[in-house]
Amino acid sequence: MDDRNKLLLSGDEAIALAAWHAGVALGTGYPGTPSTEILESFSALGGRAQWSPNEKVALEVAIGAAFGGARAMATMKHVGLNVASDPLFTAAYTGVAGALVIVSADDPGMHSSQNEQDNRRYAVAAGVPMLEPSDSQEAYDFMLAAIEISERWKIPVLLRATTRVCHSYTVVWPRSGRDIPPAANFVRDVKGRVMVPGYARAAHRRLRQKLSEISAWNEDCALNRIVPGGKSLGIITSGISFMHAREAVPEAGVLKLGFTHPLPLRKIAAFAQSVERCVVIEEGDPYLAEAIRAAGIPVDAKPEMYRFGELDVARVRRILAGETSPETAPPPGKPPQLCEGCSYRVVFDSLRRLKCIVAGDIGCYTLGALQPFEAMDSCVCMGASLGVGLGLRHVLPAEQARRVVSVIGDSTFVHSGISGLVEMAYNPPPTGHVVIILDNGTTAMTGHQEHPGTGRNLNHEPTGKVVLEDMARSCGIRRVQVIEPRAGSDAFEHALVEALKSGELAVLIARRPCILIAKELKEYEQREQRCQCQENGEPCAATV
């Protein structure tokens, strides 16, 4: 191999490069650690990438592109696939004309997530093929393979990675050059694409037929391979666990599964039979172990304690030794906190002082739950602050209900808070309700991505803008206020007190740009002015 082509890429970058080389026509997604860099890298390479308001919309746009015969991908973190699961399940029925790859970036150990769900379960539940890369080379190769499989069987494919694959940098030898994919072209297929019951019944049978063909094909698929080793111990593994297992027991034989749904059960049975002891090493849920045992293949599985958190070399050694004694927790580091000078500090100071019951949401501001504020009482999922706050208001005694506030960030509000706002207008609690939208003009926690409320697209170029206060008013909320929270000013607290007292439905927008992107915002604004000048045919205001 030519050393000059060697790259050190993160798994996310490798997926993006493969998408670029495969001629993916459109990449969609919503930012979420550890998936965010896929679309950003794809765009930097020259690919067409878009942030959607949420993962459901992102997947739907990608489905449309794939219905049109193009190659498309939708990227998201594991919990994002919950949001996108509705289109996922039925896209499995409709299939696609081009290619559709859904990248799910799971977060075992919850480095920056609210749960550690194992999205391999989605492949089974929806009935879609699934590939699991172990490093960046495989992230690259498997993305290319996923597109091939999707195109060959006209089915969406789930590429499931985890934090340590997405964010680890490992060596990649990319192939040379880009594919020229088939041109997009609409071909009418009413029975295939319109999922009314009469057509969907047939579509479900077609899906199961495809899966049974894919299952047979997977028995000889090169994405599953055997690393030869001794006969006394054999390991069946997938994803990052493969690397830990190889390092923990270099002498063991390994069946390394890359194509993990539908499973190559004959290959697995033959491997299990070829060794004296066969152990499944996997992170998260016992997905492989359960499926393999259900097929009547006797294998050892990890003790329950290893369902929690990430695996590593030491934990794999413990699993193999059957060790179930308590593990020593690593010493705590310094927890993150809201930046000094962050305007949200002003808001959480007030919420704490006023003893509010705070239904919180997902973003930087979730840090308001920690010291020194400890001013958040719930955080469930993206957008939940509105619904949870309303539910509390509906049932609590009036004295408590009047203190309930929903707190949500700007990007999260656009993601899935809007329907909560509609709910508030439609089913108002007797004591009214107060929603605080913390608007720092960016998706800060994931690394400052744009969203529909910023009026800039993924590449920070001007586009249509959703004005939050207009949206609130259009839902029929009469008490809508925009306030700039500033240290040393009581303007925000005053507005909050008045809103709480009013017993009305209120939306307070605490608007101040994130201090971490002040410089970038200035650049974007200058660029926008420049564009405006060009449109008007005037000398450029930004350069004169």
Partner: protein, 181 residues
């Protein structure tokens, strides 16, 4: 006497495979430091893996990043008790990560550098890389090349100065300690 102590005494360099953990707080340049180590190792022809946890760490919390290089690297994470080097950009980040060091592993901390002589305070990460570089087989010129490409070229002279300051080490003060005597 353990290997690291031997290596120091004889002036020989740590042979790969090599496990390095860089620890600090968000915003200190932990990720950039590991980028540079990974880049210089990659250019030297080694297999390299680097693993960082982003996300919450961006808000001033603890950040630790692993780099491993050698003939073939498997897990991207340095197993506990197997790190050859622990670079701490912030003294408080030493203890939470000390369990990662192997017996005889070397810690490199800010006191390894005469920080008063740094061209810019934020170049501590580059200076500590200089201190690390003196214990690794890659050539000084190769390190400087990777430092050059990691930053805006206009800062290269200052970064070079910081790197060489760290590489020279402090004369009158021991700047490394053994994790286990």
């Amino acid at each position: 006497m353990n290997n690291a102590a031997n290596a120091r005494k004889t002036g020989s360099l740590a042979p790969p495979p090599c496990n390095i953990v860089v620890a600090g707080l968000g915003g200190q340049g932990v990720l950039t430091a590991t980028d540079i180590i990974a880049d210089v190792a990659l250019r030297a022809g080694y297999d390299v893996k680097k693993s960082a946890i982003k996300g919450m760490s961006q808000r001033g919390g603890s950040v630790a990043c692993d780099v491993r290089f050698g003939a073939e690297i498997l897990s991207p994470m340095v197993p506990a008790g197997e790190a050859d080097f622990l670079l701490a950009l912030e003294p408080t980040q030493l203890e939470p990560n000390r369990h990662l060091l192997r017996p005889g592993g070397v810690t490199i901390e800010p006191s390894a550098v005469d920080t008063a002589r740094l061209p810019q305070k934020k170049m501590l990460n580059v200076a500590l890389l200089g201190a690390l570089s003196a214990r690794l087989p890659m050539a000084e010129a190769a390190w400087l090349e990777s430092v050059r490409s990691a930053f805006d070229p206009k800062y290269f002279d200052a970064n070079r100065q910081a790197f060489l300051l760290g590489r020279a080490g402090r004369n009158h003060q021991p700047h490394e300690t053994n994790a286990a005597a």
